[in-house]
């Protein structure tokens, strides 16, 4: 054990924490620069503390590599990481996300029209949501083959329910007066949908879309544990764990975290544009 590293990590953490609190409460806290700086400082803090702990406690590489080791691996493996990223994120996760969220949205709109279908399908939707990926993935791999199609199918199953629940809830989120107004115009079902219920549902729909971004990535990666071609983030992770290449494992995890956060951020940005009128965006 080397105390120097441990104490360094502790001091760094305390200092960064104090800095962040000052920044967030400062007059500049509304600015974009501070909005970026705070999470970055937070992240750097985590990395420094991590490095300090790993070095200070002499944690073996096969248990937890230090960020510096992960970074070194990262820069030397960019081509592999890119290939894996395309396979898992672009082909698997994105396809599944679009199909799954789209299907859930359409289902929500369809069953929204019929109380009967709603009463019948929502409980069944609960059912689908609870199908654990551990069970569905082997079946879907058996049905759709080893390549990314089965990963997309797993993602579809995973994102469907959160999206469905949120959309259904959102479509119900209008006030009586807003609906009455539409009645006085004798607006058709479709008009009420496009001009009132969908705009009013947007905050909820984006809730579902945001939750689904992270589910999609996890789903695509985990599904690869159950059979895959010899590329992909999940394949690499499970293979490298077996080889004790923990630095590569964490490099893949870093890619996942960066891609996932960027994906989430993009959806959140669109949300800001679409639901600018909602109190949660104004306040």
């Amino acid at each position: 054990m080397s105390w120097g590293w441990l104490i360094f990590a502790l001091v760094f953490w305390a200092a960064a924490y104090a800095l962040n609190v000052r920044l967030a409460n400062s007059s500049a806290s509304g600015t974009r620069a501070v909005g970026l700086a705070v999470p970055i400082i937070f992240g750097i803090t985590i990395l420094v503390v991590w490095e300090g702990l790993v070095r200070g406690l002499n944690v073996p590489l096969v248990i937890l590599p230090a960020p510096s080791a992960i970074y070194a691996k990262f820069v030397t493996s960019v081509p592999t990481l890119w290939e894996d990223f395309v396979q898992t994120f672009i082909k698997g996760a994105m396809t599944g996300y679009i199909i799954g969220c789209g299907a859930a949205f359409i289902t929500a709109v369809l069953i929204d029209r019929s109380k009967f279908l709603q009463a019948g399908l929502l409980p069944v939707g609960n059912f689908i949501a609870a199908l654990p990926i551990v069970g569905t993935a082997p079946i879907l791999v058996m049905w759709f083959g080893f390549d990314w199609e089965s990963k997309a199918a797993v993602v579809v199953v995973m994102v469907f329910f959160p999206m469905l629940v949120n959309t259904v809830e959102g479509l119900a989120a209008t006030t009586a007066m807003q609906r009455d107004l539409m009645s006085t115009y004798h607006a058709s079902y479709l008009q009420t949908l496009t001009k009132l219920r969908l705009p009013a549902a947007m905050p909820f729909i984006f809730n579902g879309l945001k939750i689904s971004t992270t589910l999609a990535l996890i789903g695509a990666i985990v599904a690869e544990f159950f059979g895959s071609p010899i590329k992909g983030m999940g394949f690499r992770i499970s293979t490298e764990v077996g080889k004790l290449g923990l630095d590569m494992v964490w490099a893949e995890i870093a890619v996942a975290a960066i891609a996932g956060s960027a994906f989430y951020g993009a959806v959140a940005l669109i949300e800001k544009g679409v639901t600018f009128w909602h109190p949660s965006q104004r306040g």
């Binding site: 962040n20 609190v21 920044l23 967030a24 409460n25 806290s29 501070v34 705070v38 999470p39 937070f42 248990i63 937890l64 009967f116 279908l117 709603q118 009463a119 019948g120 409980p123 069944v124 609960n126 059912f127 689908i128 949501a129 609870a130 654990p132 990926i133 551990v134 069970g135 569905t136 079946i139 058996m142 959160p162 629940v165 809830e169 009586a176 905050p203 809730n207 945001k210 939750i211 992270t214 990535l217 996890i218 985990v222 159950f226 999940g234 992770i237 499970s238 764990v241 995890i253 996942a256 975290a257 996932g260 956060s261 994906f263 989430y264 951020g265 109190p279 949660s280 104004r282 306040g283």
Partner: protein, 291 residues
């Protein structure tokens, strides 16, 4: 009655589609087997065969149900409800870890949401990392979590519950942040005219206003917690719980066993979500929010 009929209709439709789908899904195998045995099948034989294979690609509903019954009700009737072969016992293992994980996860999620809504530093600093945390494939780090916890002497239900909490806290955070921010400007202004403290504004305005969001997130959260527990059952040696059953089913190619464990998990989840739905209806009614 009013709720049962639609569900029955939908279920009936699904069962019908399911039986129909089983035919093309399993036909190839039936034909191959016939070819290997040098016989040909009539259409009727083919259909019957696709519904009764031992290792079908898609087991027929009655196969799943009978396996489910054999490993639950039937065992219970024989007084073996809690034998190792009984799904009831495994469902119980999973349920207990799920409930603990859900409690930890929602507790943490609500706390985080409260912090994020009240502290700018947390909003800016924590939210991006909470998001990043969810993009880390849990199955990849679950073994490490378990190894680390193990070396700290923690084992049993706790590691599973932690993984389950890890998956369930996020939907709760996202939903609750939105919900706690949902009061209109005027509602907040009213609180400001009373010079209400932050905690008063929280308890009397933000929390009640967030109720619809809370329940929506709880429903997603409990389903996520269940999935988390089952995922967590793999790197703990996959010896107990529905996850272990799915895995061993998968390992030995027992499609029907996977499906029945899957169904057990889904039934469990439907029950849990249903319970939250009941609580939701009750409390929204008490709050005058049910229409």
């Amino acid at each position: 009655m009013k709720t049962i009929l639609p569900i029955l209709t939908v279920v009936a439709a699904i069962v019908a589609i399911w039986y129909a789908a089983a035919i093309p899904m399993n036909a190839q195998w039936a034909k191959d087997q016939a070819a290997r045995a040098d016989t040909t099948l009539t259409t009727g034989e083919l259909v019957l065969d696709t519904w009764s294979q031992e290792r079908p690609r898609l087991p027929a509903p009655h196969q799943v149900l009978s396996e489910l019954w054999d490993s639950t009700g039937d065992m219970a009737l024989n007084g073996r409800a809690f034998s190792k072969r009984s799904l009831i016992l495994h469902a119980w293992y999973t349920l207990s870890a799920t409930l603990l994980g859900f409690a930890i996860g929602t507790g943490l999620g609500i706390l985080l949401a409260v912090g994020i809504v009240h502290s700018k530093a947390m909003d800016m600093g924590v939210m991006p990392w909470a998001i990043a945390s969810q993009t880390i494939p849990i199955l990849a780090i679950a073994p490490m979590i378990i190894v680390v916890l193990n070396s700290m002497g923690i084992s049993g239900i706790i590691p599973k519950a932690i993984i389950s909490a890890y998956l369930s806290f996020f939907p709760v955070v996202v939903g609750m942040v939105k919900g706690l921010r949902s009061p209109a400007m005027m509602d907040l202004d009213l609180m400001r005219t009373y010079s209400a403290s932050r905690s008063q504004t929280f308890w009397k305005l933000r929390l009640p206003a967030s109720m619809p969001y809370l329940f929506a997130s709880l429903k997603v959260g409990i389903a996520a917690a269940l999935v988390g527990t089952i995922v967590g059952e793999l790197p703990t040696g996959a010896i107990r719980g529905l996850g272990a059953r799915m895995l061993s089913g998968s390992y030995y190619g027992q499609t029907i066993q996977i499906w029945s464990a899957l169904f057990a998990a889904a039934i469990l989840a439907a029950l849990l979500v249903g319970i939250i739905g009941i609580i939701q209806r009750r409390s929204l009614k008490r709050m005058g929010m049910a229409a």
